[in-house]
Subunit: 189 residues, 2 copies
DNA sequence: AGGTCCTAAGAACAGCTGTTCTCTAAGGAT
DNA sequence: ATCCTTAGAGAACAGCTGTTCTTAGGACCT
């Protein structure tokens, strides 16, 4: 045996999230990725193969470590409370930064079918989570019984993507929180 | 005098919208821009100076010729009808394509302050339009009188940005229309 | 301690990108 | 018809980008 790697793949992926958020995929250059992740070129290509395949792993890491913090609330499925908790958490995650998944879809969605597919699965996951919570919320009479669950879930999904964009433009204001109140208020029973 | 240019700046800008929508800013290369716009390199740099300044002009053109088709409905200010018309038109514009302004903000928003500024102005413009229409709608008792106008306008703005993202991922389905019904329904008086 | 395997650092490379330059000829003015 | 300005096509260029290769040194095992 010989020396062991000094880098930690998880730390590399975490730092890469920041880099891609700042510059996009095509705007992020290998020199910066190497420098900021504390990686080295040889190891990088041994580990990931290419910049593009690296992106896929970063996206997966982003979903597991960042987005999951919000989505786990939906998976708890405690009705309206879970939805409210999801939005609160999600806003905290994207405020001032945006969402790496959304940014990647808007940048590469046409050229890269895999990115598009990842994006679709993400939306599906969200929709399923919302539908579950809405069903539970109706059971417990937390929301109006006459809402169309599927349409409302789509509405909420759409809303989430909006935050990802507005989050980049919104400064320190509480625009996002205000908008969420207007969104969830009318649903309540 | 001598020869006149064979290209038409408006046509060039219109074709460029497509190119940037497909590949993003950094992903769109000059060779394709030159080839598809029927432009020539020399004329391009005489006319626009650089790829980046070209982008700003394309964005302006995009707002004037594409987004304005939707926003003009808000400027009509006929209350809820205008808002409904806006969404219908906007969905048609971004379905299967996305929004160039949103794509550019998510790709370059951190590095390019001018792009960020353009994005902010766009959101402000939307918000003002929505507020005007909501005020009118309340006057005419088209929506519930107890809504918070500012918060609802923010909510609608956010929604618009969501469509820009979902529009890329949604295929030929009517997800977007369904979601809009769920959005505007609860507002109605 | 010494040998050996494998890592870190970065030089090197080929291809690409945005931009500039050259040269030819189109076409309006006279 | 001729001149002369300027557009068009693309060659040329410098700098950059992703990727590979070289080299020197570090750490684990015996």
């Amino acid at each position: 045996m010989a020396r062991r790697p000094q880098y930690n793949v998880d730390e590399v992926l975490t730092e890469a999230i920041q880099i891609f958020l700042e510059h996009g995929f095509n705007g992020a250059v290998m020199d910066e990725i190497i420098a900021r992740t504390g990686f080295n070129r040889r190891g990088f290509y041994l580990e990931f193969g290419s910049k593009q395949q690296f992106l896929y792993q970063v996206l997966e890491h982003y979903q597991k470590t960042v987005l999951h913090q919000a989505i786990s609330h939906l998976e708890n499925n405690k009705g309206l409370v879970s939805i409210t908790a999801f939005f609160k958490q999600y806003i905290a995650l994207v405020k001032g930064k945006g969402c790496l998944l959304v940014n990647t879809v808007t940048e590469l969605g046409f050229d890269d079918k895999q990115v598009k597919s990842i994006g679709r699965h993400y939306i599906d996951q969200l929709e399923i989570g919302f539908i579950g919570c809405l069903e539970r919320a109706i059971e417990h009479q937390q929301v109006r019984a006459d809402i169309n669950i599927e349409a409302t879930a789509l509405q909420l999904c759409n809303y989430v993507q909006g935050f990802a964009v507005t989050g980049i433009l919104a400064g320190a204001t509480d625009e996002l929180e205000l908008a969420t109140e207007a969104l969830l208020g009318p649903l309540a029973a």
